[in-house]
């Protein structure tokens, strides 16, 4: 028998597939338009579902009459979500839905539903605490450490600032929704669902609980997802609605996807966070105290006190107060590093303001205070600060705040940092080796566009020594071995560990079969370059095909199980850094901010595919540029409605807006040996801080609130911010 399997990653210098840059496996399907997303499906006898949603920010349903809709052309079923008496807490809350033969028939029928509302008082303000009525703003207490009063009394330098990031929406291009078919009822139910979800794994369990249907009878299938960013996990209300419409229509499949306006209003947003901060310190840049008042909203539940402001730097003397603001707006959802962008911005902006007040270079001030960062990360931050400064030509281009020279175009540089965990989630994978040499890998994960498919196949190809093209990968179905949801940047660590293990286990079985033919013990064999050969005696070998033929008709099928509970050593770990520097030009006559160059330096342990990792960083930065310069959910207090539930006035960054972006992946042996760490979230964190600081450096004053639109820039220049 083989020795106890050694799952460890092969040493850096011996890897043949891991660490290389193959193109993404689903690229041909996606770039030829043939990738079928769940929202692309047209099934036999499929009906189209359309929602009726609430036009008010806060209301109670007095009565609802669906009789005319039920008789309308093409209508097959009507489902009431909010019967008389239901209180609705935000615009676009679901009232009822109709399924009809065509989408237009369903839209027409929805307009025939008569609803009487009792309109209730609302609040949609969150930025300006002084204007928010008392019941909507609740003090959430004070937290203190050390002696902040003493720190401020003894401070040589004290800086003050106001900062804020409003609510932004996920704006996934594929909206939320699904195609769903519910046949039968109760325990005899059969449900098939094609959702757009970051969690193929637990979707059925959640849906079964909601609909009281045996989870055994629920099939979930999703090949591709058109964006999630944290907003798409469980089945959500629309799956329940779609299922009911289907069942009421005799089990015909129903296609129910949110329209863009509904998507923007209520299917995902990130909480706002605003702050007033004072920083105390010494003339040499050492920070000694922090006093922060924060407030923000995640919807009708408010926002609890963030436990990560100040961010990364655990400043010894601090006092923090927080106010929860309740807003009648769609509920917030996780957003690519929840809470971290806001915390990073407020902290890095306050530190930059402190550095400016002290007349110091912020790179030096960040470095000087790294003693407050987690000990395990300090050296990495130090390295990355220097690397980012070098790549951004900081020494040449940076100048003290506001000293940008004459002329209306002012150039500035700004710096911010981030951190994230990103250790792999618990994951199971199956590797099958067939007698014809084919390899199949089964795992119920999903590829959000991060390259999950590609990295799994790279791991298996590396382990088995076969070409990637010989490996067939099945994902996106709950029939497959259990992986986990793609949240928290946990996917790559999970799937790489479980697929490595399943493939090592399968290979061990193959070694058992072929070892006698090669006259050695199984433990003396290795698989590489399409061969099974005796270690140290390359001449003694079998081709992969010949080795597999020895299996006769019996395939090998082995599981790889990773529990993420102490069995991760060397495979996957958490805890990364990231340093980013923005280089901007601001026209002080028009207030327009232009991105010149952006530098992002990140470590994420062992990197399986640097090409795809770089793409993830580019994408995160571009998303952040949108948040820093353009994106804001605008709610009107008078009507309670969102004024920009679309994509022309809810602006995301376009190709002309992003400037030049440079990504440096910190691939050093000391990072590599920590194992695989997720990268989806870390690079999305520091952008508002970096760009905000660059703008302040350029124009000499802080533009407190994102997005830094021309009016906000001009207001700041006029001292009105």
């Amino acid at each position: 028998m083989a020795d106890t399997p050694n799952y460890n990653w092969p040493p850096m210098d011996t890897r043949k597939v891991i660490g290389t840059r193959p193109k993404r496996l689903d690229g041909p399907m996606k770039s030829s338009g043939r990738a079928k997303y769940s929202s692309d499906l047209n099934l036999k006898d499929m009906l189209h579902g359309v929602y009726l949603t609430c036009p008010h920010a806060h209301a109670r349903v007095k009565s609802i009459d669906t009789s005319a809709a039920e008789k309308a052309d093409g209508v097959q079923s009507v489902y009431v979500i909010a019967p008389a008496g239901t209180e609705l807490q935000w615009q676009s809350a679901e009232i009822a839905a109709v399924a009809a033969l065509t989408e237009d028939q369903a839209r027409d029928a929805v307009r025939l539903i008569r609803v009487e509302y009792e309109v209730l008082p609302h609040n949609v303000l969150d930025a300006d605490l002084a204007r928010i009525a008392a019941p909507y703003a609740q003090k959430a207490g004070e937290r203190m450490q050390g002696d902040p009063d003493k720190a401020f009394t003894e401070a040589e330098v004290v800086s003050e600032g106001k900062y804020g990031i409003p609510v932004v929406t996920h704006c996934c291009l594929e909206p939320h929704g699904q195609v769903i078919q519910w046949q039968g009822n109760g325990d005899g139910s059969q449900i098939q669902v094609w959702p757009s979800t970051q969690d193929v794994t637990d979707y059925a369990g959640d849906l079964g609980q909601s609909l009281k249907v045996p989870v055994n009878n629920i099939k979930v299938k999703m090949e591709y997802i058109g964006g999630g960013f944290g907003s798409k996990f469980g089945p959500d209300a629309w799956a329940i609605t779609g299922a009911n419409l289907s069942q009421k229509a005799g089990g015909r499949p129903v296609k129910l996807w949110l329209d863009r306006a509904t998507e923007q209003i209520m299917a995902g947003n990130r909480p706002s966070l605003f702050a007033k901060v004072k920083v105390a310190g010494k003339k040499d840049g050492t920070i000694t105290g922090w006093q922060g008042e924060t407030w923000g909203s995640g919807g009708v539940t408010g926002l609890t006190m963030p436990n990560n402001v100040p961010y990364v730097f655990d400043i010894p003397n601090s006092r923090r107060n927080h106010t929860q603001v309740k807003v009648n707006g769609g509920p917030s959802r996780a957003w690519r590093a929840p809470g971290n962008q806001q915390a990073s911005y407020i902290t890095c902006a306050a530190i930059e303001d402190f550095a400016a007040k002290a007349g110091l270079d912020p790179v030096e001030v960040f470095a000087k205070n790294l003693g407050y960062a987690p000990k395990a990360r300090q050296d990495t931050y130090r390295f990355q600060l220097a690397k980012a400064a070098e790549l951004a030509e900081w020494k040449t281009l940076w100048h003290p705040r506001g000293q940008s020279g004459p002329g209306p175009i002012k150039r500035g540089l700004g710096l911010a940092i981030g951190t994230w965990q990103g250790a792999g989630h618990a994951s199971q994978c199956r590797t099958i080796i067939n007698p014809d040499g084919g390899v199949r890998v089964e795992i119920d994960t999903q590829d959000l566009g991060t390259g999950t498919r590609t990295v799994i196949v790279q791991v298996v190809a590396e382990t088995l020594g076969v070409p990637m093209s010989q490996i067939k990968l099945l994902i996106g179905s709950n029939d497959l071995p259990r992986d986990g949801s793609s949240g928290g940047s946990t996917t790559v660590g999970g799937v790489s560990t479980s697929s490595r293990r399943s493939s090592v286990n399968a290979l061990a079985k193959l070694f058992d079969v072929v070892a006698p033919d090669l006259g050695v013990e199984p433990g003396q064999l290795e698989a590489t370059e399409g061969q099974i050969r005796v270690k140290g005696t390359p001449g003694k070998s079998l081709t992969w095909a010949a080795a597999c033929r020895k299996l006769g008709t019996a395939s090998i099928s082995e599981m790889g199980i990773f529990t993420a509970r102490g069995d991760a050593a060397g495979m996957t770990t958490g805890g990364v850094c990231g340093v980013q520097i923005a280089d901007v030009s601001v026209d002080v006559e028009t207030g327009v901010v232009k991105m010149n160059r952006y530098t992002a330096v990140h470590d994420c342990g062992l990197i399986i595919n640097p090409r795809l990792a770089e793409s993830v960083v580019y994408g995160a930065v571009i998303g952040g540029i949108g948040t820093a310069l353009y994106e804001e959910r605008i709610l009107d207090q008078q009507t309670g409605k969102m004024l920009n539930p679309d994509m022309e006035f809810y602006k995301i960054a376009g190709i002309a807006d992003v400037g030049d972006i440079r990504v440096h992946l910190d691939i050093r042996e000391e990072n590599d040996k920590r194992g695989v760490v997720g990268l989806g979230e870390p690079p999305a964190i520091p952008i508002c801080g970096a760009i905000g600081n660059a703008v302040a450096n350029a124009i000499g004053v802080r533009v407190p609130c994102m997005p830094m639109t021309p009016d906000r820039v001009l207001n700041a220049l006029e001292g009105r911010a």
Partner: protein
């Protein structure tokens, strides 16, 4: 002056217009009472009223005539996706902002969500399904793959078609030109760095096919 501009100053081609849309759905003369609309209406052939129920039309899609019945209000994007199962073009903003539904109609890139299916008759409609396959990628699609210009991929078909349409009219473009040429398409994953590189690569591979048209 660019190829596109010179065409615009020449004889106007028949193309989708709000006026045609209004006539198509039989709006009363009151709506046509503005100076602009009235003047244009005089020059146009007599209105043919169709709908509001489904009308039989023929669309020429990727070189093949396809018969279908649509209500006059149905957009080209919805007709393709919901009735013909041609789903490369995506419905995202549904109001002419994001470009995910881009197709090439009569040689021009258009947003499928902003063209009525009934107004798309008589022109060749080129969708991404007509320009290649996963096994035999069109040079623009191949360039998108080579340069990792897609993540979730939902915007990719629209970007590929916009890029193809732009390159067919502008040979030898510079990176700066793509900011304008592809500025009508949006990506939420942030693939623009890859898109820029892909567009440059595709410009090189497509240059001979562009038939010597030059960017002016």
């Amino acid at each position: 002056m660019s190829q596109k501009d010179s065409e615009h100053t020449g004889k106007p081609k028949r193309r989708f217009s709000r006026r045609g849309f209004m006539r198509g759905v039989g709006l009363g003369s009151g709506a046509l009472g503005t100076g602009l609309l009235a003047r244009d209406a005089v020059a146009a052939p007599p209105a043919k009223v169709v709908g509001p129920g489904p009308v039989a039309i023929v669309l020429n899609i990727n070189g093949k005539p396809v018969s279908l019945k649509v209500e006059p209000r149905v957009t080209l994007c919805d007709a393709l996706r919901n009735q013909l199962d041609i789903t490369g073009a995506k419905r995202v903003c549904d109001r002419g902002t994001c470009g995910a539904c881009t197709v090439i109609m009569g040689g021009k890139t258009v947003y499928g969500c902003s063209v009525l299916a009934i107004d798309a008759q008589g022109k060749n409609i080129e969708t991404i399904e007509g320009i290649g396959s996963p096994e035999k990628l069109h040079p623009v699609s191949a360039a998108f793959w080579n340069n990792d210009a897609q993540q979730c991929g939902y915007c990719t078909p629209g970007f590929v078609m916009a890029c193809k349409g732009f390159l067919e009219e502008h040979a030898n473009p510079a990176v700066e030109d793509f900011k304008r040429g592809l500025g009508g398409n949006l990506c939420r994953c942030g693939t623009y760095m890859g898109v820029k590189a892909a567009a440059l690569e595709a410009a090189k591979t497509m240059a001979p096919a562009a038939g010597g048209k030059v960017n002016g």
